[in-house]
Subunit: 110 residues, 2 copies
């Protein structure tokens, strides 16, 4: 269970480690796009794009929608949740003044 979470984390970190893949994710965050649309404006080949999409999909960062011979992809920002959780683990080590601010903000939200 903890292991499974760690594995997802690992896939996310690995997926986002590549600059080209981050660029793909960022473009797909702006809106759904077909693979060929995504390819325009990129210097890499179509198979390279497909390969990047497969990695992002495996990490849960993008979702696919098929329509005829087209494949539309969009970013799934909720896929970033495990990454956020990972970062939040270290909030406890952040300076105390930030912790205090956090509490204040949390209070304000309610």
């Amino acid at each position: 269970m903890t292991y499974a979470l760690t594995m997802i984390e690992a896939e996310i970190f690995r997926a986002l480690a590549d600059p080209t893949r981050r660029a793909v994710f960022e473009r797909l965050a702006a809106g759904e796009m077909s693979v060929s649309e995504l390819r325009t404006g990129m210097t890499v080949s179509q198979p390279a794009v497909s390969q990047h999409l497969a990695v992002l999909r495996g990490a849960g960062l993008v979702v696919e929608r098929r329509a005829g011979r087209n494949a539309f992809y969009r970013a799934d920002p909720q896929g970033l949740a495990p990454l956020l959780s990972w970062i939040e683990r270290y909030r406890t080590f952040w300076p105390e003044r930030i912790e205090r601010l956090k509490a204040v903000l949390k209070d304000m939200d309610q």
Copy 2:
């Protein structure tokens, strides 16, 4: 300037992509440790540890303190700030959690 930030982002993502390096960071988040202390409980060689530390240091994720022949390292959680900023770009898809963190980040930037 935006470019510089992007480069730091890239280094952080790359640094955290490796599971061993994440483990090192996590251990150093628990408290300062010398390189040899860090090495105990790890399967890799001492040079490997030093190399990982150099990468983490380059990404701004750990800081070094030298004392005699010892080198003590500790995690710098503020080094994660650019990573949070990156995630924060997708906040429109994350109604509430990120909004709080955004304020925290703003404070950390000072």
